[in-house]
């Protein structure tokens, strides 16, 4: 079970700030594709990903128990 966090536009589009994705291991790339298709989240092409609060690469593998956050282009400051 992977916990997924959504922010900003993504969060608003889905109407929720987190999801649960059932699986043991998956690459970020594939996870993004899955969500993009399932929820029509075209934004997924433009987001960075953090695994357990650290930025991660597309080819990194997440596993059950991890928290994955999708980070749209940031705009603090």
């Amino acid at each position: 079970m992977i916990r997924i966090l959504l922010f900003a536009g993504l969060q608003e589009k889905l109407g929720k700030s987190s999801l649960v994705y059932e699986c043991d291991t998956i690459t970020i790339k594939v996870l993004k594709e899955q969500l993009k298709t399932a929820y029509e989240l075209f934004e997924m092409d433009h987001v960075m990903t953090a695994v357990n609060e650290e930025y991660a690469m597309e080819d990194d593998i997440v596993k059950s128990g991890d928290t994955v956050a999708f980070i749209p282009p940031v705009s603090g400051g």
Partner: protein, 157 residues
């Protein structure tokens, strides 16, 4: 820690308190950057803003920026506080304070901090205009996803 150097807060930021965190007897220069909510951006009038953060990660990233600064400029001390939630025009969104024995490093490091912040700290701004609202997408203040999604042109690239 009673006074953490890197914080995300929901209450108004008191600049003096952030300055106090970096004061040192060996530092002759303190630079401060105060980012406030601007009323006009490219001819459009902002009514108010909302900031959202991925809070634990945002704090970690601010701390990482601090470590980067200490590596680049030894004998520097920095503190950054970013406010989230609803902010009105002229409200302070972020304060960056840097102290250093000499002024050149204090300016350089301060500017470095805000530029890095706008790249890696997971905080998002939603502008509320007179005629709508938009999540802002990057440090150039271009729109990320008007109406909540990019147009298809953008996706196909």
């Amino acid at each position: 820690m009673n006074h953490p150097l890197y914080e995300i807060v929901e209450e108004p930021i008191e600049v003096e308190k952030i300055i106090k965190k970096v004061e040192r007897r060996e530092a002759g220069a303190i630079t401060t950057f105060i980012g406030t909510v601007r009323e006009w951006t490219s001819g459009k009038r902002t009514m108010y803003l909302k900031y959202q953060a991925y809070q634990p990660m945002a704090v970690k990233m601010l701390q990482m920026i601090g470590e980067e600064m200490e590596e680049k400029w030894p004998n520097l001390k920095a503190a950054i506080t970013h406010r989230i939630g609803e902010l009105d025009i002229s409200d302070i969104a972020v304060v960056i304070c840097v102290s250093s024995p000499h002024r050149k490093e204090a300016y350089e490091a301060n500017e470095y901090a805000i530029e890095r912040m706008k790249q890696i700290v997971p905080i998002w701004k939603k502008e509320h205009w007179e005629d709508g609202e938009t999540w802002i997408g990057d440090q150039l203040e271009k729109v990320a996803y008007p109406e909540g999604s990019p147009d298809m042109e953008d996706v196909k690239k």
